[in-house]
């Protein structure tokens, strides 16, 4: 019986028929999606923090308005994704609880600090660039609500990357101090950015099943390579360099070769020992706890209003 459902399910996946929330699905598929979508949502929400750090100090009104809009978009992306995860039967509060207790993970990249204005440019160019590389294939993910949320996310993400590149382009045409500030930011963010694609294929425990279920469509290493190839060309336009002495075009492969990634750092950051892990979680917990009375007040107001309406009707 179970086997039949499973075979029927896999057949739908193979024929590119999307899975919708009420359809039968293997429990593992549901769990994998809840994990992946909620992690993704948490990343969007935590991702507001490093950039929010620079809203009040943006160098012009134009930059400030753009950064505000971008951070607001990240909030929106988090909300689309939380809704998609909720269709799988987990509640919003449970997801928050998992984040606040440290049980749920989020993208390791947001545990790095934003030390200068140039970091905002680099986050847009590299971090959002890497995110787009990951996210575009997710628009065809086998789970309908996830795919639909990702379509919306991807439409909006493109502006994020372009505004970042524009910040760096402006700095690249600026003073020596501005140029070295930008180069320093690139040096600090490059390696964490390419770690964003996740562990190497042979060490990525969830990938094989996710590919079979078409939750993912490309492997971590394939996407990482694609990102490196694109970025190694873009950096030339800026006149800056990527901090990897082994970065070289390999004609035979048709790809850039790149140096060894420090995976120990990646796992350290994932496990909570990155430069800002503690600060990020505390900011989220504080927002949640200090918002408690607002949520309670709004609920109380609704209850009171409903009661009054019922009395009038009766």
């Amino acid at each position: 019986m179970e086997k039949t459902s499973e075979a029927f399910f896999q057949d739908k996946i193979d024929r590119e028929i999307r899975i919708e929330p009420k359809d039968w699905m293997p429990e593992k598929y549901r769990q994998t999606l809840i994990r992946q979508i909620s992690q993704h949502a948490h990343s969007e929400i935590i991702g507001m923090l490093p950039e929010g750090n620079w809203i009040t100090r943006a160098p012009s009104l134009r930059r400030k308005a753009i950064l505000l809009a971008k951070v607001q978009d990240e909030a929106g992306h988090g909300l689309y994704l939380y809704s998609a995860a909720e269709t799988l039967g987990i509640s919003r509060d449970e997801m928050y609880e998992q984040l606040h207790s440290g049980r749920a993970k989020y993208s390791s990249i947001f545990n790095y600090p934003t030390l200068s204005w140039a970091d905002i440019g680099v986050i847009g160019w590299l971090v959002d660039g890497a995110a787009i590389m990951n996210q575009v294939p997710l628009c065809r993910s086998s789970f309908g609500p996830y795919a639909r949320a990702m379509v919306r996310v991807c439409k909006e993400e493109s502006f994020h990357q372009r505004q970042g590149f524009e910040i760096l382009l402006t700095l690249s045409r600026g003073t020596e101090a501005q140029r070295s500030m930008a180069q320093d930011a690139i040096n600090r963010w490059w390696w964490p950015s390419i770690m964003m694609f996740g562990p190497k294929d042979d060490e990525s425990p969830n990938s094989v099943q996710s590919m079979k279920w078409k939750i993912k469509r490309f492997s971590n290493d394939e996407l990482r390579q694609k990102f490196i190839d694109v970025t190694a060309e873009q950096v030339k336009v800026l006149g800056f360099t990527l901090p990897d002495p082994n970065l070289k075009w390999n004609k035979a492969r048709g790809h850039y070769d790149y140096g060894a990634i420090n995976w120990d750092e990646f796992w350290q950051v994932i496990q909570g020992n990155g430069p800002c892990n503690k600060e990020r979680l505390e900011a989220r917990k504080k927002a949640w706890e200090e918002g408690e009375w607002v949520r309670a007040a709004a609920s109380a107001y609704t209850t009171k209003k409903n009661k009054r309406n019922t009395t009038v009707a009766a």
């Binding site: 919708e20 929330p21 009420k22 809009a69 978009d73 689309y80 449970e94 919306r152 107001y301 209003k305």
Partner: protein
């Protein structure tokens, strides 16, 4: 006064065996604002289309939140918000039987009829 609420999720509204997931027993989740389904009319003359869902304490807040979450780039000129628990959905397990009566009536489609080429504008 005591009352029992089921929590309903977007896409999980069934009344039969696939009934709504009830996780309301889990402490703080009880106080979660209800879930609303959001429908947006992208321009005058078009239908409202489902775009997703969100949490809000009441209808006014649902519409305001929907504006911020779903129309940051002029995606809409009108918003509907419906509390998710009021949406009833057909059961995908019964899709075969439910749509079966429409399956063998090809004569409902204009292409079913073979007319001579000389007949124009029909």
């Amino acid at each position: 006064m005591s009352f029992h609420t089921n929590k309903y999720y977007y896409g999980d509204y069934g009344e039969a065996k696939n009934g709504a997931a009830d996780i309301s027993a889990k402490g703080s989740a009880k106080e979660e604002w209800p879930l609303w389904e959001i429908f947006i009319r992208s321009k005058q003359g078009l239908d409202h289309k489902h775009v997703g869902s969100l949490h809000a304490a009441d209808a006014a807040m649902a519409i305001e939140n929907a504006r911020d979450v779903y129309t940051r780039r002029m995606e809409g000129v009108s918003i509907w918000a419906v509390e998710s628990k009021y949406i009833h959905a057909s059961n995908p397990d019964e899709a075969g039987a439910l749509y079966d009566p429409a399956n063998d009536k090809v004569y409902r489609h204009p292409t079913f009829y073979d007319l001579p080429d000389e007949v124009k504008y029909m």
